[in-house]
């Protein structure tokens, strides 16, 4: 169980996180979804005992992050957002080093990292600095796992990793979950949210929604419309100026739109846009995704 109550951290006058509360059940994959600078890393650093909160309380496995930090460090594995292994040590040397300082050996916990480590084992003599992005990620995960932690904290593990490796990475996380490890993972990619058991949406230092991925979508509440026309730039501008607009933002090739009232009154919207002179106008209702929940929150007037 990971629990945070009213966690607050300021860097001088800059807000890191403010008044964050949530809990993660044992065996869960808990996603922290939010844009850069939302406070994800600050939250991770507090939970991994690297940063002291200004206010509030947090526990990892019933241990307090401030008082019992020494005990917590034996129980957690942490993979920082930036590659933090020794670039001038080889793959094997890195893994052996992290095993030894936790008083264990590679052999003892090989079963835990086997699936992941096997993929980079052919390069075990190569210096970590010379690995590709995806391989670095796998090595970092192996090193975070080699002492058999109960809780795994992964700060943006898939940032800068290609799509195939990202998919593989999430498959690995599911495997680890089945071994009973509780995983807290942050990502700026909305599509990865649906792979978590539960997600927290975080923005500007506070969490505005915690739910199962389906729950977040069904919570969306408003009808969502996808619009296209010949002049997308003008369309975006006109939608922003429309009196009934709640949010309007580019989404792939179209613009997603929600209105202040739930239904959105598509007919009056269409009339307004035709009046503005838009040609080839397409307006259709569409299903909301996690990203829509986010953008709706962020671009709401």
């Amino acid at each position: 169980m990971i629990r945070a109550e009213n966690l607050t951290k300021y860097y001088g006058k800059t807000r890191g996180v403010e008044d964050i509360s949530f809990s993660v059940d044992d065996g869960e994959i808990f996603g922290l979804i939010g844009p850069d600078g939302a406070g994800k890393t600050s939250l991770f650093r507090m939970l991994t005992t690297l940063l002291k909160p200004d206010k509030g309380k947090a526990t990892v496995g019933e241990l307090d992050v401030v008082k019992d930090y020494k005990k917590i460090r034996k129980k957690i594995g942490y993979m920082p957002g930036r590659f933090s292994l020794y670039q001038d040590l080889s793959v094997e040397e890195n893994l052996a080093f992290y095993a030894r300082i936790f008083n264990t050996t590679i052999q003892e916990n090989y079963h835990l990292v086997k699936d992941i480590y096997q993929q980079i084992e052919p390069f075990r003599k190569r210096l970590a600095g010379n690995l590709s992005g995806g391989m670095k990620q796998k090595l970092a995960l192996s090193c975070a796992l080699i002492h058999s932690p109960e809780y795994l904290f992964l700060d943006e593990p898939t940032t800068g990793v290609d799509a195939v490796s990202r998919q593989e990475f999430w498959d690995m996380l599911e495997n680890l979950q089945q071994k009973g490890i509780t995983i807290m993972v942050s990502t700026p990619y909305m599509d990865e949210a649906s792979l978590c058991d539960r997600v927290a949406l975080i923005q500007k230092g506070s969490i505005f929604n915690i739910n199962r991925p389906e729950g977040i979508i069904s919570d969306f509440g408003r009808d969502l419309y996808a619009l296209r026309s010949r002049d997308m730039f003008e369309l975006n501008k006109d939608l922003k100026n429309y009196k009934n607009t709640h949010s309007a933002f580019r989404f792939g090739e179209s613009i997603h739109f929600t209105a202040e009232n739930i239904s959105g009154e598509p007919e009056s919207l269409r009339n307004y846009l035709i009046e503005k002179g838009h040609e080839d106008l397409k307006l259709e209702k569409t299903e909301a995704g996690i990203e829509d929940c986010f953008m709706d929150q962020m671009t709401a007037k």
Partner: protein
């Protein structure tokens, strides 16, 4: 304890995998000692002289010849025109003008005294001082010679005079090389130890690797020890290497017990490496470490008495040297090698640097934070 061994193993792999490390350890001391020991000398040779001899008598020629015969002076030219000589001084073609007046010989024998003018280029005050001292002593010597001769012409008498015989202890030939070498060694050992240690720790911050280390159960003192010990060993090795070069190439005397010297070096290095680590705990980039370490290093070196005697510094500066570990080590190094002083002679220095080492290391361990 085992954890420290694992950290040490990792550090040594990294140190020797670094391609610049072996040249730093083996080539740098060789070059520094070969170059610096020869150049950092206060001995003056080949002072360039221009003579303005308007007398051209036998006596004035004898005086000029005396300068010419000295190994310190080289006669670069002679002229009758003082202005021409001054131009040479201005153009840096001469360091010293000896101005002999036209009635030099006559006045010397008639009046019994005569004035000779020396004009010295004093851009470098130390060099000017030495030039003046050398020139004056040559003229004084010449003077005595004249007195003896002229008295002999009249009637031979036994002159009563005080004969000053000097002998220089511990360095009888006043050989600057063996005086400078122990000092250069201290510089060398300090650069290797203090700078490399400090840079190594801050590199972990720069690369972000410290983030991963901080969530492990490694204790603060274990981490600091892991950073300290490798460079401590390397710096002690460096001292041995430097002494070997000194013995083989410069034949420096080793009067004292080398064990005492190494014991002192070991404590000195704990203090300096501790200081380096302390600097790196509050820096976040290698650049910051470099600048701060350089500030301390240069201040310590200039105040230590390696180039200029401590005794000629103002009193406050001499007092500040109480906290200058560099000054202690230079003193111990010179006294041990040249004079053969032993442990009991250095008891105060041992005590002072022992306290220094404990303070610096405690500060470093205290300041290094695993939690921000």
């Amino acid at each position: 304890m085992r954890t420290i061994l694992f950290i040490l193993q990792k550090e040594f792999i990294q140190i020797f995998r670094n391609k610049t490390m072996l040249p730093i350890i083996f080539i740098m001391p060789l070059v520094q000692m070969l170059v610096l020991v020869y150049t950092a000398t206060l001995e003056m040779k080949n002072i360039e002289v221009v003579v303005v001899d308007r007398d051209l008598s036998q006596t004035s020629r004898e005086l000029t010849a005396k300068f010419d015969g000295s190994e310190f002076f080289i006669i670069r030219g002679s002229t009758f025109d003082l202005k021409e000589a001054e131009d040479m001084l201005r153009e840096n073609k001469a360091d010293l003008i000896i101005n002999i007046p036209d009635d030099f010989e006559r006045q010397l024998f008639r009046e019994g005294n005569v004035k000779v003018q020396l004009q010295i280029n004093a851009i470098n005050a130390t060099a000017a001082g030495l030039t003046n001292a050398y020139a004056t002593s040559i003229i004084a010597d010449f003077n005595r010679h004249i007195i003896t001769e002229s008295i002999n012409m009249v009637k031979p008498v036994q002159m009563k005079k005080i004969n000053v015989a000097s002998s220089f202890w511990y360095n009888p030939e006043l050989n600057y090389k063996i005086y400078m070498l122990p000092g250069i060694l201290v510089i060398l050992v300090t650069i290797i130890g203090m700078f490399l240690t400090a840079l190594n720790l801050v590199r972990e911050k720069e690369m972000g690797t410290i983030e991963q280390i901080n969530v492990t159960p490694i204790k603060k003192y274990q981490f600091i020890a892991g950073k300290l010990i490798p460079f401590w060993i390397i710096a002690l090795f460096e001292l041995a290497f430097g002494l070997t070069i000194g013995k083989v190439i410069f034949d420096i005397p080793m009067e004292g017990n080398l064990l005492v010297l190494f014991a002192f070096a070991a404590i000195y290095l704990l203090a300096m490496l501790g200081l380096g680590l302390f600097i790196s705990t509050f820096s976040s980039t290698q650049q910051q470490v470099m600048f701060i370490a350089f500030f301390f290093f240069l201040t310590f070196v200039m105040m230590s008495g390696i180039f200029t005697p401590v005794e000629s510094m103002p009193e406050w500066a001499q007092k500040v040297n109480v906290v200058n570990p560099f000054a202690y080590f230079i003193k111990v190094n010179r006294m041990n090698l040249l004079k053969g002083s032993g442990f009991w002679d250095f008891r105060q220095e041992f005590l002072a640097l022992g306290i220094y080492a404990i303070a610096a290391l405690s500060l470093a361990v205290w300041k290094y934070r695993k939690v921000v």
